[in-house]
């Protein structure tokens, strides 16, 4: 089939077949990245874009890694993306105000008589919840695609999944954006125990796993159990039901401050024991002050300090170092990561008091990372984010909603995991026959431009065209390393749209 030149539309961001030859000629082809460098860089970010390849060329492997781990790569977002983020009301308003507005709406709703007005008010409350969740999802994806520190962006995604919260539960929707921006993001490369404590004190986690309801005499073990089973130690690592119960007692009183800011009455004896931090409150009146024994160590009943002690104790366990190292290696390296690598990461974890950046250094300097290159199947988030990065290469999209829809179709909606265990990290969860063919269809949506990424919300006039992937980036870092089977497929493409579709569907692109 001949390519009808008149049909080709150019996005202007990259080379266009019909008018693009001069642009190709201008960019003097740089020497291709070595296979090892390309493989390394594909895992260092949500796969490749030109900006990260340029950074890599300028700084080298260790230079880039160090700058990322020290959080020194802070290039501004493209203006179009920055403007979208600034326009999200959920980011413009403090969380407390958002929650208060919703609570007042609910109270008003309760006092209304049944009827049309009430139904209308109910609908608008529901709309508020859904809008908040949608904004949080769009924020997360825009940052993942356009954030300059791609290693950090992946870690934000990794921790959001590790400390998973489900937007559909209660008011978590209103808190999800705050959770991503204020709880996970600032701690993504810091000390693990600080990250645990930040999630422990976050309204989203307090609500999702019910610790806000955990009080002296009305103990709720839900969070205590998941804190050890899913967040730190792993199931079967040796803690007992007794430990869960003791930890639940330690966590009594950790909850959310009254939203309306009313003055709480604490007697002179307990007042000094109150801890307020943002929306978090440790309320000594709801705390069990008995002495506890956790993982064989005695923790004296003292108030909030018990919680810090418990988090320190738990995150110092070898089981925690192993559990977290293993999950990281599973995310970046292989479904069944080599034990040698997990052990070395685990040693770093323990020696550095759980410094996430140092553990990542061990991982990204390891020979195992490269030995497994090209064999780790991308989960839907990695697929969608990396496909948009490669296809549009830094050009600001106007509407992230298609990405949300694709992730829904692929079964990995953002903040959509109902159970607290997070989405699977291995290929089994994502590579069923139905999921593979759906993935190819989404590859086609992206590769052919049959999508609304460039059509602003509310506009019914489809904008944008299909992307051009045959850019210098492709020739430098992708084309030379493709398998024979993928190259053969690309050679059979009868249009650039089809060529894009094949590339984005290929095993080379879907594994890294």
């Amino acid at each position: 089939m001949p390519v009808p030149g008149a049909v080709l539309r150019c996005l202007g961001l990259s080379v266009c077949l019909s008018a693009g030859l001069p642009a190709v000629a201008v960019a003097a082809p740089a020497a291709p990245l070595s296979p090892a460098d390309s493989a390394w860089l594909r895992r260092d970010g949500y796969d490749l874009d030109a900006a990260n390849v340029a950074r890599f060329r300028a700084m080298g492997r260790s230079g880039l890694l160090e700058a990322q781990l020290a959080d020194r790569i802070r290039d501004p977002l493209p203006p179009g993306i920055d403007a979208q983020l600034r326009a999200f009301p959920i980011l413009a308003q403090p969380l407390q105000a958002t929650l208060l507005a919703f609570k007042q709406g609910q109270e008003q709703l309760q006092s209304m008589p049944d009827g049309d007005a009430k139904a209308e008010a109910k609908k608008s409350q529901q709309q508020m919840l859904n809008d908040a969740a949608d904004q949080a999802r769009q924020i997360t994806l825009l940052r993942a695609v356009y954030g300059s520190n791609q290693l950090k962006e992946q870690m934000v995604g990794f921790w959001l999944n590790h400390f998973s919260v489900f937007a559909g539960k209660g008011a978590v929707r209103l808190m999800a954006a705050d959770y991503e921006e204020q709880v996970i993001r600032p701690h993504a490369l810091g000390k693990f125990k600080d990250l645990v404590l930040a999630t422990l004190k976050s309204p989203a986690m307090l609500e999702f796993l019910d610790n806000a309801q955990n009080a002296n005499g009305k103990v709720n073990e839900n969070y205590a159990r998941e804190l050890m089973e899913l967040h730190t130690l792993g199931v079967g690592s040796g803690y007992t039901q007794q430990d869960v119960q003791q930890l639940a007692l330690i966590l009594t009183g950790a909850g959310v401050r009254p939203l309306d800011g009313r003055v709480q009455k604490f007697g002179p004896r307990v007042a000094p024991l109150v801890v307020n931090d943002g929306m978090f409150q440790f309320n000594p009146k709801r705390h069990d002050f008995s002495d506890k024994v956790l993982l064989g160590e005695r923790i004296q009943g003292s108030g909030f300090d018990e919680i810090t002690q418990a988090v320190n104790l738990i995150t110092r366990q070898k089981a925690c170092a192993q559990f977290i190292s293993r999950k990281l290696a599973q995310y970046f390296v292989a479904d069944q990561p080599p034990q040698s690598l997990v052990d070395r990461m685990s040693v770093t974890f323990q020696r550095s008091d759980g410094d996430i950046a140092q553990v990542l250094r061990t991982l990204f300097e390891s020979p195992e990372l490269l030995q497994s290159a090209g064999k780790k199947f991308k989960d839907p988030t990695q697929f969608v984010v990396s496909a948009v990065r490669l296809a549009y290469d830094g050009k600001p999209i106007a509407n992230p909603r298609p990405m949300l829809n694709w992730l829904n179709q692929l079964g990995e909606p953002v903040f959509g995991r109902q159970t607290p265990d997070g989405w699977p990290l291995d290929a089994v969860g994502w590579a069923s026959s139905g999921q593979m063919s759906k993935r190819f269809e989404i590859a086609r949506s992206i590769g052919s431009g049959y999508n609304k990424l460039f059509t602003p919300e509310g506009s019914d006039k489809a904008q944008g065209g299909f992307p051009m992937i045959t850019t210098p980036l492709y020739y430098e870092a992708i084309g030379p390393h493709l398998s024979a089977a993928t190259t053969a497929a690309l050679n059979q493409a009868t249009s650039p749209q089809e060529w894009n579709t094949f590339l984005l569907s290929s095993p080379d692109f879907n594994n890294r």
Binding site: V235, F377, Q409, G411, Q418, T419, A427, V428, A431, S432, S433, G434, Q435, M436, S437, K438, F440, E441, R444, S483, A485, T486, A488, A489, Q492, E498, T501, F502, S505, S506, P507
Partner: protein, 399 residues
């Protein structure tokens, strides 16, 4: 398409398209081979407004706004008497009641699991894993995947977007939702090229199956696709979906799974009319359509409708019901010994509620499903134990 047509079509395809081949499981099902469809109602449907315990005053006391009226020939919104104690929601009058009259439909009240968490996710997962109570939380494989493994040629398929836990842990079990069926996005040339890229990789089978299935299904559903103008049709109702499912289960697939949501009716559940009854009507029409569309194969087919739990016996303050425990399972099929309420029962009274809240479970789903599958599929004891380890199969003489 019968097996011969398929082989011919495959041969033609093979001549022109050397690379796209199905991974070898797409056989025509032998005409008399058993078929099994599991229908999972996700969300915990309110069984008390499906199978109405109309002889119980306690039911009417507990549900001042939700109860369905006692059978009354002059009231079309009253329950249809099935026996002296139980009545059927009247919205099923034209769809499932005829199957009941033909004795092809049975209900098993007080059915469910030994999972008392009353959590949707945990209970659904535990049902799909199919393990005994002391093994809860082990989600390595689902019981349908183990059944497929024990019965070569069972031709399993999930009619869902993702592979449900029931079918996980098996070998290359395909999934495809038939809710919306459109013309395949890729033509045969493109499908072959896509599949060829994955040849020899670990994903070769799912890739090739997924692409082939899309082509195959659109061929099988050709009539409907042609009628649908632009070639795409979204199931407006469950019946449209189940007719498609029947098309595939008549000829090729024998072990199917589909799920239906929307049952978590905490608020404004409605009585003989309203939210829940609309859902039940849709479900009933879907099951009746399936029975009809299975044609001659209906006699070899068993359908079981399950849900993770029942709901509170008493209505709540929002004219709805909350998470409960025991529920009512439905068993349908051309050869089912139906027209009866099967299994252990207890009088519906305050004293018989579990924790003064909901139905107890007297008929464990593992024993029931084990009994049904064991008999219809002719499973040995060892095979049954691999599907439901530790279960005591009891099909309640339903098959």
């Amino acid at each position: 398409m019968n097996r011969r047509d398929f082989l011919v079509a495959s041969a033609v395809a093979a001549a022109t398209l050397p690379t796209l081949s199905f991974s070898g499981k797409l056989f025509a099902a032998p005409a008399s081979a058993p078929r099994f469809l599991m229908v999972f109602l996700r969300g915990g449907y309110d069984c008390n407004n499906l199978l109405v315990p109309y002889a119980s005053d306690f039911y009417y006391e507990s549900r001042p706004t939700l109860a369905i009226a006692r059978p009354d020939p002059h009231n079309p919104n009253s329950a249809i008497a099935l026996d002296g104690h139980w009545g059927l929601n009247p919205v099923l009058h034209d769809s499932l009641y005829p199957l009941w009259q033909r004795k092809q439909l049975a209900f098993v009240p007080f059915a469910g699991t030994d999972d008392l968490s009353r959590s949707h996710f945990e209970t659904q997962d535990n049902i799909e894993a199919g393990l005994a109570g002391d093994q809860h939380g082990h989600y390595g494989s689902g019981f349908l995947a183990r059944l497929a493994g024990a019965m070569p040629g069972s031709a399993p398929i999930a009619f869902t977007d993702a592979l449900p836990l029931s079918f996980q842990g098996g070998r290359d079990i395909p999934n495809l939702s038939l809710r919306g069926v459109s013309k395949p996005v890729f033509d045969e040339r493109q499908s072959s090229i896509l599949a060829a890229m994955y040849k020899g990789t670990t994903l070769a089978a799912p890739v090739s199956d997924g692409l082939q299935l899309r082509q195959q299904v659109s061929k099988d559903l050709q009539d409907e696709m042609t009628k649908a103008g632009r070639g795409a049709q979204t199931a407006q109702n469950f019946a449209a979906e189940t007719r498609r499912i029947a098309t595939l289960m008549r000829d090729q697939y024998r072990l199917g799974f589909v799920d239906v949501g929307g049952w978590d009716t905490h608020v404004n559940q409605g009585g003989a009319q309203g939210q829940l009854s609309n859902n039940l009507a849709n479900l009933g029409q879907g099951l009746a359509a399936f029975a009809d569309a299975m044609g001659d194969q209906w006699k070899d087919t068993t359908v079981v409708v399950v849900s993770e739990f029942g709901r509170t016996f008493r209505e709540n303050g929002n004219r709805g019901t909350d998470h409960g425990h025991g529920t009512v399972y439905w068993v349908l099929g051309g050869s089912v010994h139906g027209g009866r309420i099967a299994g252990e029962q207890v009088a519906v009274a305050p004293g018989s509620l579990l924790q003064n809240r909901d139905y107890p479970v007297l008929n464990n789903y593992r024993d029931l499903l084990g009994g049904l599958l064991g008999r219809t599929w002719g499973l040995s004891t060892a095979q049954l134990q691999s599907v439901f380890p530790g279960a005591r199969p009891n099909g309640l003489q339903l098959v």
